[in-house]
């Protein structure tokens, strides 16, 4: 019986051409992460050829080499891995923080709401990128610290969104009915209200993955990435000084960032259409 609703989700999603394109790009990126090492078998940190090889100049180095003679294709493949990893994990972590705080604030209201929202504003008042830089600089730059930094700066909008949804949903009669039936508060929050707030959270999550990838790239560009992991942002940053002599070193990782972030945004828009039954043309 849930089949028709799934079908209509796909029907609405497919209507958005851009979203379909985004999904295809994302699948390609996922394939790159899974099977990329077969394609580019070099260690991205190894100097394997002479530096400044143009794309296509030598067989086996389709995207050329960088200033140190490292294979750019291998770098992009490994970078995809780290970008997606950081994007997804930090989104999951900030969803956990944001949904918890937002749900508690929205459900209980009054002083719980006031306290939690003032706490949230504390984070929102500080420019998020500056805070992320400070956090990574305090801890040693590593995958773990970058994930922590990105999560800590990106949960407030989630908390705001979830709080808003909970504020309206908790007034609904089905919540009152669950209370009358004697269901426990955690149960009401998790099974009655949260599923109804899921669609905007899912849409936001897809956009947050994109933002997290951008944040990670920006941090690596500034040299605050994990020194043991090749990353797109680091590659762009390293190629910055030779941009005029060797365009390919910055362009290929740059395009990778652009395409992935664009795809995630398009998918987010598609999810929004798909989960919003009102776009069906009849209400």
């Amino acid at each position: 019986m849930s089949l028709p609703s799934k079908n209509s989700f796909w029907r609405r999603y497919r209507r958005n051409r851009g979203a379909v394109f985004g999904l295809v790009v994302l699948l390609l990126v996922a394939l790159l992460v899974a099977f990329g090492p077969l394609l580019a078998s070099h260690d991205p940190w190894d100097m394997v050829e002479q530096p400044f090889l143009q794309p296509g100049q030598t067989a086996g180095f389709a995207l050329g080499t960088d200033t140190m003679g490292r294979d750019i294709l291998s770098g992009i493949v490994m970078g995809a891995r780290i970008s997606l990893l950081i994007g997804v994990v930090s989104t999951v972590v900030s969803l956990l923080i944001g949904v918890t705080i937002g749900a508690l604030a929205g459900y209980f209201g009054r002083w719980v709401d006031a306290t939690l929202m003032r706490f949230t504003e504390l984070f929102q008042a500080i420019p998020s990128f500056a805070l992320a830089i400070v956090l990574v600089a305090i801890f040693e730059p590593s995958v773990k610290s970058i994930v922590v930094a990105i999560s800590l700066v990106s949960w407030p909008p989630v908390a705001r969104l979830v709080r808003g949804e909970f504020l309206t949903l908790r007034q609904r009669d089905f919540v009152a009915a669950a209370q009358l039936a004697g269901q426990s508060t955690p149960r009401i929050i998790l099974t009655q209200i949260l599923p109804n707030a899921a669609s905007p959270i899912v849409v936001m999550a897809s956009l947050m993955v994109a933002t997290a990838i951008l944040l990670e790239s920006s941090l690596s560009f500034l040299g605050l990435g994990d020194p043991n992991q090749m990353s797109w942002g680091y590659m762009v940053g390293a190629a910055r000084t030779v941009l005029r002599q060797a365009w390919w070193m910055a362009v290929f990782p740059g395009v990778a960032i652009l395409l992935t972030v664009l795809a995630l945004n398009l998918v987010g828009e598609g999810l929004n259409d798909g989960l919003n039954a009102r776009l069906d043309g009849r209400t």
């Binding site: 019986m1 849930s2 609703s5 609904r172 009669d173 089905f174 009152a176 009915a177 669950a178 209370q179 009358l180 039936a181 004697g182 269901q183 426990s184 149960r187 099974t191 009655q192 599923p195 109804n196 043309g281 009849r282």
Partner: protein
């Protein structure tokens, strides 16, 4: 009632004179309106034809989904094209076919020659514009007028629709106005340029009985004074008998009966019309039990509850007394009707009894046991006090299937899962839905069916006290009758005590043994139903009784 009928007859004779001389204002011929593919039927309206003469009121009657609002929207050019559009027929307005006009030609007619009043007065006004500014827009759209003259004419229009203090009101924002006042503003807005046709789409459905009576009277007066034609859309035959000259009855997009109002009301030909008329609660008081059950299920003593709004740390908020020393009692198998207008505090009392709202003072005794207030009350009652909610669309979780929805309560009280599911299936059968309903989601059911599910969910807890908060006011009249019957059945079967909250005295009369009339948080009258309805003591009760729209005089008591 004769006093109401007399002037009615005058207009009828007058309009008959007009009818012989005048061309029809509106002539709908063979109108077909197409629905988007995948709907429950191909055509929303099929072959609808009727004429409306100047100075007359035509009521289009039908249940929701019968296509009656589609006709109104087609006339005004408000259909969501191209998803829904007229595919055949003509709508002749003063001889021109509205379906052939383009948008700018239509716009010139709208507001000036045709006015429209909508169902929901709370959302029809722009909340950030002053009343005066909203009315000015009508002038600005159609003519050039000086600011002073505009203001003059708007003030006159506000006086015309019976609004108090128009000088102050013209500069107020909509949130200061009650629903009835907003509807008056909407009527003033529609009538500002003296249109020859007024379309009213269920203008009183969202209003209280007393406000409804006032608005109906206003519309009737205005129509008679201005001699305009009115197309009135409603689902309530009580309203029809108050206002209509002619009636068109619609069922699933087709006109099944048409004729003069008196004729249709007295001698309905089509079975569907008869069903609609029979569904109107007649307010005949329920025969009380021979001997009241000795068990007191509920005693409410001096219940007080005050809402404080808009306050802050340093400022006292505005206080609204929702319950002021409310007292009543209820025995097993009995039903008490809490009757009053919106804002009278009846729903608040209901929410206090079930423990969804805390109260300040007074006592609530359940089976002789004193209950705490708010969440603690719910703990103590252990689910034996249940509620049926007003809005069937908001009371079921859209993400949960029906079976688990019904079983969740008993499971939370420790009943084994399999047993709870089995009971859920039984209850679905009891409320007239098949067991296959358990696997479906709420959006697959109609409003009436959802309300049945709501009742089943309450019964799943094996309650001893059921509080029903306006359970039928969101439903069509015919569905309402079925749901009320179900309430009566389950009450007998489970020996339930019931608090029935409603604004409709007709419904209360049919359902309840006792009635408590509430006004501004106080119980102003409390007694056996027959007593209250036949010999109302308090003037407010009398107002409520007078406001009930009745079927026009039956042949035997006609003059």
């Amino acid at each position: 009632m004769n006093a109401v009928l007399k002037p009615f007859d005058d207009t009828e004779s007058m309009s008959q004179v007009l009818a012989q001389t005048a061309e029809p204002v509106l002539d709908v011929r063979g109108l077909d309106i197409r629905l988007p593919a995948g709907g429950d039927r191909l055509l929303a309206v099929q072959g609808a034809s009727f004429t409306l003469l100047p100075g007359q009121t035509l009521c289009v009657v039908g249940e929701s989904g019968s296509g009656k609002s589609m006709i109104a929207n087609a006339i005004m050019g408000l259909l969501p094209r191209p998803l829904v559009e007229p595919v055949a027929g003509q709508i002749l307005f003063d001889g021109t076919d509205l379906l052939q006009l383009n948008e700018s030609q239509l716009r010139r007619l709208r507001g000036q020659r045709m006015g429209m009043v909508f169902q929901e007065p709370m959302t029809a006004l722009n909340p950030v514009m002053r009343i005066g500014e909203q009315l000015e827009e009508v002038f600005d759209a159609h003519m050039r007028l000086g600011a002073a003259e505009k203001r003059q004419r708007i003030l006159a229009a506000l006086v015309d629709v019976g609004l108090p203090e128009p000088e102050r009101l013209i500069d107020s924002y909509p949130f200061r106005l009650s629903g009835g006042q907003r509807q008056r503003v909407m009527i003033a807005c529609a009538m500002l340029l003296e249109p020859s046709l007024l379309i009213a789409d269920e203008p009183t459905t969202a209003l209280d009985v007393t406000t409804q009576a006032q608005i109906l009277k206003l519309m009737r007066d205005l129509q008679r004074r201005r001699g305009m034609a009115m197309l009135f859309i409603t689902h309530d035959f009580g309203v029809v008998s108050e206002i209509a000259d002619h009636v068109v009855v619609m069922q699933t997009g087709q006109v099944v009966e048409a004729g003069p109002a008196q004729e249709v009301l007295r001698r309905p030909q089509h079975p569907y019309t008869r069903k609609l008329i029979a569904a109107i609660p007649n307010g005949a008081p329920r025969v009380a039990q021979a001997e009241p059950d000795p068990v007191h299920v509920l005693q409410v003593q001096d219940l007080c509850k005050t809402y404080v709004s808009g306050g802050s740390l340093f400022k006292r908020g505005r206080e609204v007394v929702a319950a002021d020393h409310v007292s009543f009692e209820l025995r097993r198998g009995q039903t008490l009707g809490l009757v009053g207008e919106s804002g009278s505090g009846k729903s608040t009392v209901g929410r206090c009894i079930v423990g969804l709202a805390p109260f300040e003072s007074g006592r609530i005794l359940f089976r002789g046991r004193n209950l705490m207030s708010g969440a603690a009350l719910r703990q103590q009652a252990k689910g034996k006090i249940q509620m049926v909610f007003q809005d069937p669309y908001a009371s079921l979780n859209p993400r949960h299937r029906i079976g688990p929805t019904l079983a969740a309560g008993p499971i939370a009280q420790g009943v084994p899962k399999a047993q709870a599911m089995a009971r859920a299936l039984e209850l679905l059968q009891l409320v007239g839905l098949g067991p296959e309903a358990a696997d479906r989601f709420p959006h697959e059911f109609s409003g009436g069916q959802r309300q049945r599910i709501g009742i089943a969910r309450a019964l799943a807890m094996e309650p001893e006290l059921l509080v029903a908060d306006e359970p039928v006011s969101a439903l069509d009249v015919s569905v309402q009758a079925q749901v009320l019957k179900l309430f009566a059945e389950v009450r007998e079967r489970f020996q339930l005590a019931m608090v029935f909250i409603t604004h409709d005295l007709r419904v209360a009369g049919e359902m309840c043994d006792h009635i408590a009339v509430m006004q501004r948080g106080q119980v102003v009258e409390y007694g056996p139903t027959a007593e209250v309805l036949a010999r109302p003591q308090h003037p407010y009760t009398r107002t409520l009784i007078d406001a009930i729209p009745r079927l026009a005089a039956q042949p035997e008591d006609a003059p």
